[in-house]
Subunit: 298 residues, 2 copies
């Protein structure tokens, strides 16, 4: 079967209360990038964080981190646009990318587009209540077309996130329009625990994403379980020909002690190899996702 693309999602907005190995500052993210690359990850996804773990969306954070990663290893770099923590102005979420693009050493390889709008309030499964009531993750069609335009301008690869079937249909529509070039790289976002915003991280939840892959468009998919244990589903994903995006940013994985991000990547690589899928190198990942073509056309 095809090589498998493994992406390390190292920190998101996760705290260190459960697993202290979540990286926050640039030096920690750079360290994890190298360690995950050494284990077989070909993409690194990270969020800017302060030393105490607050969201930190200053461009300087991304410039320092990207340059530091480049100096260590060739892993493909995929920084956040800030998620709902940077939601005051949807268009403004792209400002940090514009800064990163001013120097090849700080330029990322991917820019994300969450292709739709969804409520993302936090849920407390112990108390059966919402802990927030006003978090709408808004990505209007107009905002998304702006992001797509800037991503194309810079020759980056779109990293598309689908939280539910409505998102996948909008991705297909954008492919028909040429706003999203083929092959599209789509992350099927499942959620569990304190997030109910995506499909559940179950076989049914994954199936209900995969069923809507367009029949006549080239869409390559990876899967994530935000706030849930994706390792319960990785065998199914690997066998189904999907790719895997995983890390301490999503879930502390205390079932396995207090693992590092690299420990989680090593587990996935071991499982993928046992199922006859070798991890894709950085160059193979670029090939699978048509990234050389993208940059050449820019």
């Amino acid at each position: 079967m095809d090589k498998i693309i493994i992406e390390a999602r190292v920190n998101e907005l996760a705290t260190r209360q459960e697993n202290p190995n979540v990286p926050f500052i640039p030096a920690e993210i750079i360290r994890d990038a190298k360690a995950c690359y050494d284990e077989g990850a070909s993409i690194l996804h990270y969020h800017g964080r302060t030393a105490t773990g607050e969201p930190e969306h200053a461009a300087s954070f991304y410039l320092e981190t990207n340059a530091g990663i480049r100096a260590q290893c060739p892993i493909l770099v995929h920084p956040t646009l800030g998620y709902v923590a940077n939601d005051a102005d949807a268009m403004g979420r792209f400002a940090a990318v514009e800064e990163m693009m001013k120097d090849p050493i700080t330029a990322p390889d991917f820019a994300p587009m969450d292709v739709g709008t969804v409520n993302v309030d936090w849920w407390d499964p112990d108390k059966n209540s919402y802990t927030t009531t006003n978090l709408v993750y808004e990505n209007s069609t107009e905002t998304l077309m702006h992001f797509a335009d800037r991503i194309k301008h810079h020759g980056l690869k779109q990293y598309l996130v689908s939280w539910n079937v409505s998102f996948t249909r909008q991705i297909e529509a954008f492919m028909k329009m040429g706003v999203i070039p083929a092959p599209a790289y789509v992350c099927f976002c499942m959620t569990d625990g304190i997030s109910l915003s995506g499909h559940p991280g179950t076989p049914e939840g994954l199936d209900a994403h995969i069923a809507f892959l367009p029949k006549d468009r080239e869409m390559i998919w990876t899967a994530v379980n935000y706030k849930g244990n994706l390792l319960l589903l990785t065998e199914k994903i690997i066998k189904a020909g999907g790719h895997i995006s995983i890390g301490l940013g999503d879930y502390p994985y205390l079932e396995y002690g207090t693992p590092t991000n690299a420990d989680i990547i090593a587990k996935v690589v071991e499982q993928a190899r046992a199922l006859d899928r070798e991890p894709a190198t950085v160059e193979e990942t670029r090939e699978i996702l048509g990234m050389n073509k993208v940059r050449a056309a820019a």
Copy 2:
């Protein structure tokens, strides 16, 4: 099998360009309410419209229409909150219901809650392009809790709409919180043609809704295809134990000439009977949905 609840969705925002039988003004809606009731519908859903078809959300429209329907037949009344056409202030969408509740003769039986947020831009399938780019149908958790509170206060039945799996999960969360009482009545919204916002109106689209009915909560479901031909799916819905919400508001049904709303209801009733499900009367509908209990508790 259980009786089937048939809801007539008579006008939505549909034009008369394709089918001239779409009712706009109160007298036309009242006429269709009676005709659909006579064919076997037990719920009427409608939107306020001007004589030329523009959205019309003045309370007076609903007062006149509801009172007129009550004078004709006992069909259960389910007016819109205005959808995205009344989106300037989400909380304000409920203002017309408050007016309707001042007199029993103008009081509706249902008030809708679209339990989540989704992009609802219009799609042109011929040109492969969006005709709008800024329509976000926003229903924050806080707004929904406000609606639920007012619906409970007035002793109305919640009519819950799920556009995708994220919505159904929020409905389940609200059931755990007690914000949505059992039994919950949920409309699985599928969309086709000029709307890509819900699941596609296919067996796969319906299955991907049904798969997430909570295992341990009482949820009764109906299904709609907004902008698509639901009659292609009614056999499956009837056999699966679902209920049906259908009408010229969603689709002109020109495959069958230029039918009226009552013609469409008659078709569904005929098919349901052939599959051994009798249409539920108004009183049976109230029983199935636990509506007498709701009003008694208010």
